[in-house]
Each structure stands twice: as C-alpha cells, then as structure tokens.
C-alpha cells in the first residue's frame, strides 16, 4: 500500500500571538493535520530570510511564518517589518521558480486557535498536490 505524500511544514510562530494561538488549538482539542514542525520565535519580525532558506535547504516542503495582526505586535512594529521583508523573500523565491504556495505568511492572534487550524488545513491541502520539495533541498545520500 503506497503512503500518501504528507508535506513537512516548518512554521515560525511568534511567541506572543501565533504560538499562543496554536497552543489554544491544542488545549481545545481542535483537530488539524499533524504536518507542522513549529518553531517559536519572539516576533515575526525577527525571522531572518536565512531561516526560511535553511528550512527549504534541509527539506521542508512548505514554510509558514505567522505573527500578530497589524497593530497588535508585542514589539509594536516587528510584524510590519516582517510584512515587507518576507514579501521580498517570497518574490525572490518565486523568481527562482519555487511554487508560490510553498512559502506563506499568516496573522494569527492568541485567541485564534480556530484560525490556526484553518491555516494549517489549507496549507496542507495546497501542498499535497505539489509533492515533495526537491528544488532547494540539499542532497540526501540515504
């Protein structure tokens, strides 16, 4: 029996909003696909493009960066810098020919456990037909 492809998604979640939102989804026992490798960061603005490139280099099929809604950032403006910087990263990855669905951003607040599960469900749904990410992934000698 062949196994269906399950995309591996690395999610950079800001501690104050998105990570808390994902915790809320957990304690509320909301069901959502188990494809995510969560990495907590202090702020979406602290996510360096290097993290995203490294995630793809190591074999991530998809990368999500999620932070506080505009105006709600714990550090006031961090998410505003993220919005600009990570759009540039997205444009660069698309310029190289990486499928646009593979790198995405979301705003998820600490109260939005439901939204978090929604984001993940949609992400998994979009990534499954694309198959494993092989373009940026480093060699694997098995």
């Amino acid at each position: 029996m062949t196994e269906e492809f399950e995309p591996k998604i690395v999610a950079f979640l800001c501690k104050w909003c998105s990570s808390a939102g994902s915790d809320l989804a957990g304690v509320s026992r909301m069901e959502y696909p188990a494809n995510v490798i969560p990495i907590q960061v202090m702020c979406s603005g602290s996510v360096s493009p290097l993290y995203i490139f490294e995630a793809f280099n190591r074999g991530a099929d998809g990368v999500l960066v999620s932070g506080c809604h505009p105006g709600d950032c714990h550090y006031i403006k961090g998410n505003m810098y993220a919005r600009r910087k990570l759009l540039l990263v997205k444009k660069l990855l698309e310029h190289l020919g990486l499928e646009p669905q593979r790198f995405q951003m979301s705003w998820v607040s600490a109260a939005e456990g439901q939204k978090y599960t929604q984001v993940i469900k949609e992400l998994v749904k979009e990534l499954k037909p694309l198959g494993p990410q092989t373009k940026l992934r480093r060699e694997h000698h098995g």
Binding site: P49, L50, L92, H95, G97, R138, E139
Partner: protein, 343 residues
C-alpha cells in the same frame, strides 16, 4: 564630452593641496587598451588618468577597502579619499552613506557623467570584433564608440556594444558629487527592468530550469561578492569560519557554530548562496553590473540581484540609492505596504 585634461587638473589640485590622501581613478592598460583601477598618490602621476567607455569598474569598492585599511592602522590618515564615480557608482556611495558605513567627509566625489552612452561590455565587443583585438576605445559623437584595432579605426553604434545595465540605466549622471564633469544629459530608458522582466514571462518550472542550469555552473569563486561594494561584511554568512573567534572561544562553541551552507559547489548550496546574497542586496543593489562582469562562467547575476530593486519600486515605492538620508529598504515600512498575500 568629458575632457581628460579637466579630470587631471581636478585630481592635481586635490593632491597638491593635500585635500585627499589618494585618488581612486581609472588608468589605461597599455597592453589591451582597456581601463583598470589606479591609485594616484602624487600630483605627478595624474597623467595616468583616463575616462573612456572601458571604465566599467565600480571604484566605490575601493572606498570600502580604504575603510578596512584605516581600521587596521594605529594612527590612520583621516583625510578623505578621492574617487571617480559614474552615475551607477555614485548610487553605491549613497547606499554606503545611508548605512553609515562611511561618513560624507571620508570621500571626495569626482562625478563623471556617462552622457548619452554608457560603458562597453567586453564580451559584446569581442563578439563584434570577431577575434580582432581592440587597442583603443573612445567616446565618439552621435552615440558611437570609436574603436581602434590593428586593422584601423571604426565607429561602432554604442547600443550594440554597451553593457546591458547601461541599456537599463536610470542614473546616467552621478546623484551625489563634489564636482561633476560632463553634461547632464537626459537619457530615456523605456525598460529599466528589462533583464528581470524576461524571467517573469516564464512559467515557474521554466524559471527553475533556467536558474538551476545557470547556478549549476557556479564555482563559488565569490568573485561576485568580492567585487560588490555592498558586500562589505567582515563575517559573511557563506563563510562560517569568519565568525568572530577569540582565544576564549571554547571548542564546543566552535564545533557547534551555525553552518548555513556547505562549501561544496553543488546546486542546492550554490542557490542558497545566491539567494542569500540577493536578499541581502534588497534595497541596496544599484545594478552596477560588476557581479555579472566578474563571473568567470557567465552567470546572468543581474537578472537575480536586480529583481528586488524592481520589487522595491513596485511594491514599496522605494527608489534605491538616490537619497543618503533615506532609511534602508527593510528598516522602514508604510502602512499601505501590500498585505494581501498574508492569510
């Protein structure tokens, strides 16, 4: 037309008065008639200075070197260094000033206008001359270059051998200078991002095919990084061993240092290196074209590094390298920055 005598006179004045410690300019390499960088320390040496269509180097790179040199000296000479800049080069100086890498008083800027024509592309010239060697190339009238070979002298339309970046030039006149030579001619550039646009007509799969074929050729000589004035980091992400180490750094710390990418010139690591360079140049790359010129295997790096210059303009209304007082692209934002892509 920029007269050599005017340039030389200005250089002589600055050196004789001791205003600058030395001048970074172009000199003619007698052997092949093309310009190379020269460092003029004495007024008697100003006759070496040339200005012609082979002055394609970005001399601002050596302003970065001067800063490094000063940092190593115990009692450095704090006089400014003189530098000859074209329009594109001057924008590199603007970036260095924006980032406070240098102070305005550290440079004495001698601006040269490219007027109606830019500089040559060596590869295009070689193809045009079909094996003949050029001995001399000068700016000519009516948008021609006057090219002298062993066979004689010929006028070639500049547009046929001009560098691609000159065909997409948005700053033919230096945007910052202490003195400016040449006329402030306007130049029309219908497709300032033509090189980048070419990629955007391709499907994602075709784009990937293009870039993976090109970046497979990369031998990681780091010519692109070394020639770029904006790549001035002492510790580069691509070289993990330049990270600061002291006698107190423990063996564990050294062993567990982050290694973002491997040294091997394989496609995944080559793409990582070039992606990192491109993103670190967002809002900083002024398309002097040096990276592409230096590349020994002809990777079209301008098509990559210039992409984010285009996006800066389209998405954020940001003009790269014109105003030294403007904040860097990624250290500012507008309320109206696009956010539709965010779920």
């Amino acid at each position: 037309m920029v007269k050599h005598e005017d340039l030389k006179a200005e250089a002589k004045k600055l050196l004789e008065s001791g205003t600058i410690k030395y001048l970074i300019a172009y000199e003619r390499n007698a052997r092949d008639g093309k310009a190379i960088p020269v460092f003029i320390k004495k007024p008697e040496e100003v006759d070496k200075i040339t200005w012609d269509p082979t002055c394609f180097h970005n001399l601002v790179r050596f302003v970065v070197d001067e800063k490094r040199r000063k940092a190593r000296q115990k009692n450095p000479d704090t006089r400014p260094v003189g530098v000859v800049v074209k329009g594109c080069d001057s924008r590199a100086l603007v970036i260095l000033l924006q980032e406070k890498f240098i102070d305005r008083k550290d440079v004495r800027i001698i601006g040269v206008s490219c007027e109606t024509t830019g500089v040559i592309d060596e590869r295009k010239l070689a193809k045009k001359l079909k094996g003949q060697k050029a001995k001399n190339i000068e700016f000519g009238p009516d948008e021609n270059f006057v090219v002298t070979t062993e066979e004689g002298t010929v006028n070639l339309p500049a547009s046929e051998i001009m560098a691609d970046r000159c065909l997409e030039c948005i700053a033919p006149i230096p945007v910052i200078s202490d003195v400016l030579f040449g006329e402030k001619t306007k130049r029309s550039t219908p497709h300032p991002f033509g090189s980048v646009d070419k990629i955007e007509t391709l499907s994602f799969e075709d784009r990937w095919k293009f870039w993976s074929e090109q970046l497979e050729k990369c031998v990681r000589c780091y010519g692109c990084r070394s020639v770029c004035p904006m790549c001035y980091c002492d510790e580069c992400v691509a070289d993990t061993i330049t990270f600061a180490v002291t006698p107190d750094t423990t063996a564990d710390e050294k062993a567990l240092k982050i290694k973002w990418l491997d040294k091997s010139p394989v496609i995944s690591e080559n793409i990582f290196y070039h992606m990192v360079r491109a993103i670190h140049l967002a809002g900083r790359c002024i398309d002097c074209g040096e990276c592409e010129r230096a590349c020994p295997v002809n990777i079209p790096l301008r098509m990559l590094n210039k992409k984010l210059e285009k996006e800066a303009k389209l998405l954020f209304g940001y003009d790269v390298g014109f105003d030294p007082d403007k904040p860097a692209l990624i250290s500012c934002f507008r309320d109206e920055d696009p956010g539709d892509f965010i779920r």
